[in-house]
Symmetry: C2
Subunit: 117 residues, 2 copies
Amino acid sequence: MSKVKVSSTNFANKAALSDECSEVYAANIIGGQWSLAIIAWLMNGKLRFGQLKKLLPGITERMLTLQLRKLEDNKIVTRVVHAEVPPRVDYELTTIGYELKPIIDQLSIWGDKHKGL
Amino acid sequence: MSKVKVSSTNFANKAALSDECSEVYAANIIGGQWSLAIIAWLMNGKLRFGQLKKLLPGITERMLTLQLRKLEDNKIVTRVVHAEVPPRVDYELTTIGYELKPIIDQLSIWGDKHKGL
DNA sequence: TAGGGTACTATAAAAAATGTAAGTAATGTC
DNA sequence: GACATTACTTACATTTTTTATAGTACCCTA
């Protein structure tokens, strides 16, 4: 996940589209397999790594870590490490992270409508 | 793209998440590399295969075909073949397809805001 | 001293998505 | 008959994403 080939056509295509369309740009940021689910859970407030893990049955620790890092890199979540043993790490949405709510709401509304077809 | 392994963990995870969260369900439907861009262009009205191709620099015919098929399967677009030579095929959003507009709008708004950070 | 809890990291492999290159069908024009 | 046009299809290669499995560090408790 962290090693994309910046010389690939795929990379160039994504970059070009992201540049032109803000909606594609946004979709690329929140578009991992688990990202939206993580964000949705965090909408209710901060959670620890382990809590997220329990809330997302099937996710591996590696995936959770990767997605959280990506979200952190994109300033969607903040990561706060407490100097304790055993370790405790809190994840919380940033301001711009919380502002994803309208998107999630619209996706949810549309998804429900589409399911009913 | 058409051969997903229904026995894979990945498939199971996606299905489970889609089931629980309508927003993830929606994201899975509109979430190909080019899907959103295609949908965004079609928001202004129907387009031919070749027109879409021109509007999306970098896309290959194969990818365009695949994405359009997926959108068609998901009832986002309709495909109308005109019995002419050379062939002419029109793609147009369905009702539920046009209803994706709020999502695209919100993504666009958020994307712009995020770019400005 | 052994084991437990927490949040990771490293490495490999599998699966999925995307790209490349070539070919097809039908018909009208030169 | 060769060629152009359009919307594909097919076989294959590459890239990206996700999963699997096994570790690590830290201190506390028994």
